[in-house]
Symmetry: C2
DNA sequence: ATAACGTTTGTTATAATATAACACTTTTTA
DNA sequence: TAAAAAGTGTTATATTATAACAAACGTTAT
């Protein structure tokens, strides 16, 4: 299991890029951006991404195969994530709504399955794109 | 826009396979299953899948890149989907819960974005797998 | 009935996303 | 300080998905 605190060199490099980005980043676009830093292979990116996800530092946007930094801290190691996604500009916003989070964390399937984790993705057109 | 009623030959073939399946199917596993019917290329599968999704006949499970038949009819052309996914046996169940659906359809982002659509995926271990 | 249009098909090629496997190094822990 | 765990670099390959083009099919409008 990865320590909650210390990041390895590659993990730090990948996290920095994702944190600086304005929107979600794809694995290969991260790769192209770090080749000057000596990272040459997809494996190195995917390994770092996996660990960062485990640590809750980043999230994967499943519908886009892309990654964003976690801004919300109360998604407690990615057990409960929700995103707002603009279908026009591709902007992604992490939704940090206590009520929503509580409602969904307490939700139980009729068939008796107990949920450990959920991921919710909302789609629409963002304010900015509506104006254009 | 595709007609809500009639399916083309390939669309029907692909839908049949997905409906008969016990769990989610991957595009290439569908492809291998229909080669005897004269479908040879991924394009043919993906085109059918796209249309079937548009029509609300099937859903894509984003976290698995796999497809399931729609069982719930009240997800009105895939504008509001929720699934229960077992992390052990990979079983997927469509969740048809009016309260949940209403709650999420009425949810609005603080930042003023109006949502047209959402997809929710719950993860856990299903009853069956817990016993083993 | 036929021209015009949109949809579907078949096909080849290729892009984009992700993992396997192996040898080695570094860090942590007992 | 030896053993175990985590991380690295690398080559190769698997998996998922789209581009582009030409032909056939199905509507509908005249």
């Amino acid at each position: 299991m990865a320590q909650a605190q210390t990041l390895s060199r590659n993990q730090q490099i990948v996290l920095n890029i994702i944190e600086k980005a304005k929107g979600p980043l794809k694995a290969y676009s991260i790769l192209f951006n770090v080749q000057k830093k000596g990272i040459n292979a997809p494996q190195q990116i995917y390994r770092a991404l996996d660990k960062l996800i485990e640590m809750g530092k980043i999230h994967k946007i499943e519908s886009k195969n892309a990654f964003v930094a976690c801004r919300s801290s109360d998604c407690e190691i990615s057990k409960a994530t929700a995103f707002s996604i603009c279908e026009s500009c591709e902007m992604v916003d992490e939704i940090s709504d206590t009520k929503l989070s509580k409602y969904l964390s307490g939700f139980n399937h009729k068939k008796g399955m107990k949920f450990k984790r959920f991921n919710l993705e909302f789609f629409g057109i963002c304010k900015k794109c509506k104006k254009d």
